[in-house]
Subunit: 346 residues, 2 copies
DNA sequence: ACGGAAAGTGAAAACGTGTTCATTCTTTGA
DNA sequence: TCAAAGAATGAACACGTTTTCACTTTCCGT
């Protein structure tokens, strides 16, 4: 009774709009595509009737012929990990503004992107894929994403050239960690810290290894002994346990870098609530990320900040540029880091 | 050189597989659809060749003819809100196991689902939509989702029948808050709490109003004076500020309910780090959700738990049942709550 | 008023799949 | 051995769009 328009499958089609507007179905198509020639008044009429009928071009059909799904695949090990959830949030907003949608997939928490998942994602025909997870060979990824364009988030090692010279083989966002780490080490050194420990991220993760090596390099340059490594996996619980081990089994430390902010929270809680140490008086703590929680009063964390907004803008820029020009040579964007000083140092 | 199969648009098609296997294109289609009759050895051959060619049926084409996109739309105000990120995480895993993918959309943070966003999402043809955001009229939602099936998360008011009698008009998951709240109030009363405050969620949100009314009802039943309402919006910062107001401008309290765990963190930090009060000695605090962070040592929060795994299973069940039988009468699932006791009470 | 360029138009052909429907091949029971 | 039932098969159509390609109309400068 309520649907008097005689819709076939509950949805209006371009044919119906055309019929009602006394135009051809092609005209309807053109009305919805900006760069086509169609008499303005005709376009207005069609759009008005389309709105009446609640019509929108079917994206499946559109994807079939145009080869564009307007979907961007995102694979993460853990949506609820704070940094990643904030990145997904910002990314979804940005993509939404550009007419895309975020397609979410979960891999195992060990940061491995197995082939089965890649094949599964491939079935949905994403236009682009953001590879936060670096533990997949580019050739493997390329084989599984025939049409989709992968965008890599890349953390250069200390030796690697930071600049775009001898351009990268794949589209990527380079995150330069040196600046933020230098500022942090300088600050710690200024307060007299000597024995600095690193509560690591997941060992296999490139973000982690690059972070650790950069820290080691910067400390060496400033004449500090190499950092003690306390293995962890980015999680609160592991960082908590690693900190206990560091002080009960190991030699302790007078300053601790955590591979991420959440890990730093675990370090802080272990120091204060289990080891009875004061921060920053007895031990100083620095994290990585600068997530929203880091300014919470219980933690008030000094941390190396990755600018989330800037990072997401760069990613979207990479995607759009690649989609507009599939044949262009590999693209690159660069992102700096800096230290945000709060209460856990000095 | 590497792609000798002569692919058209970078992707193998059913026709190519058919040609290479000396069968018709229809046979290839049948090989990928379980409930069709095809000689087993033929099916094996086709699947083997398909794997060689890295072929998977195009989901866009499949969606076009079958009317199923295998996408589930999820609209949230804030992906990085802890509870929601954990729910999205679990939901994505569960949907992935059933052959679906999560399509993410962001609305404004005020929990309003505006028509523009609904129309935008509709364009992607989701098979189902999970309406976490309750501030949209079912009729409006239905109008914007011609083919997609909406699933509502519903928080009954104290007066509403909890049971399925006189069945609901729409598919929905009923979250019964009474049990958990009763346990919490009983515990607080046992410790002698009298002046209980409620640091609210976003006023317009139904989850919040239902929570508040249920608390009020349970307290009245146990002979307690009505709770003092400190308006907030689920965020840490607002809860922090609301707590300061409660004690500096208002009358204070000897126990505080926060509408969610993140809000409770704000309450705790305000009490301890700014007002110089002890928890649980001076003030007791109870949250809602039981997110992963609630067991962190700095907070160690007593909270009313929503079982996330159970909740996600129920949602997926609702979706699958509805998709298997579109004409079935409205479905319903029910979820209980219970108190998890940690360090912020007694 | 005229020629040519530009804009506007719709029929037909894609895009890659699932489904229907006759037809052929195989099996089964007596 | 035969008829009938069932399984296997492929041609043709359907799904809802965009794109190409001729064709018609409008616009503009002289």
């Amino acid at each position: 009774m309520s649907d008097d328009s005689g819709m076939t499958r509950g949805r209006a089609t371009a044919e119906m709009v055309a019929q009602r507007a006394n135009v051809s179905r092609v005209a309807v198509s053109r009305a919805f595509n900006p760069h086509t020639s169609l008499k303005p008044e005709k376009r207005d009429l069609i759009l008005r009737i389309a709105q009446e009928l609640n019509y929108t071009p079917d994206r499946a059909a559109r994807a079939l012929v145009s080869g564009r799904s307007h979907l961007v695949g995102v694979i993460v090990p853990d949506v609820c990990s704070h940094w990643e959830s904030q990145e997904i949030d910002a990314l979804t907003t940005a993509l939404q503004n550009e007419g895309f949608a975020t397609l979410l997939f979960k891999t195992r928490t060990d940061y491995s992107m197995d082939e089965k998942l890649l094949a599964y994602m491939r079935g949905f025909n994403p236009d682009s894929v953001i590879a936060f997870v670096e533990n997949v060979k580019p050739t493997t990824l390329a084989r599984f994403l025939d049409r989709a364009v992968p965008i890599y988030v890349h953390y250069p090692y200390p030796g690697e050239t930071d600049d775009a010279e001898a351009g990268p083989l794949h589209d990527r966002l380079n995150v330069l960690q040196r600046a933020g780490i230098e500022q942090a080490v300088a600050l710690l050194q200024g307060y007299g810290a000597q024995r600095i420990a690193y509560v690591s991220g997941l060992g296999k993760s490139r973000a982690n290894t690059a972070r650790e090596q950069m820290l080691r390099t910067v400390m060496a340059e400033r004449g500090l002994p190499p950092p003690v490594i306390a293995p962890s996996d980015y999680s609160y619980d592991m960082a908590y346990a690693a900190t206990l081990d560091l002080f009960r089994i190991g030699q302790g430390a007078d300053a601790i870098f955590a591979a991420n902010d959440v890990g730093a929270f675990g370090v802080l809680d272990a120091l204060r609530h289990e080891l009875g140490l004061r921060v920053p008086e007895d031990v100083k703590v620095v994290g990585f990320d600068d997530i929203a929680q880091s300014h919470w009063k219980s933690y008030n964390l000094t941390t190396v900040k990755f600018d989330l907004e800037e990072r997401v803008r760069a990613l979207v820029r990479l995607i759009l540029r690649r989609l507009n020009n599939p044949a262009a040579p590999a693209l690159q964007e660069t992102l700096q880091t800096r230290l945000v000083v709060r209460g856990t140092v000095g």
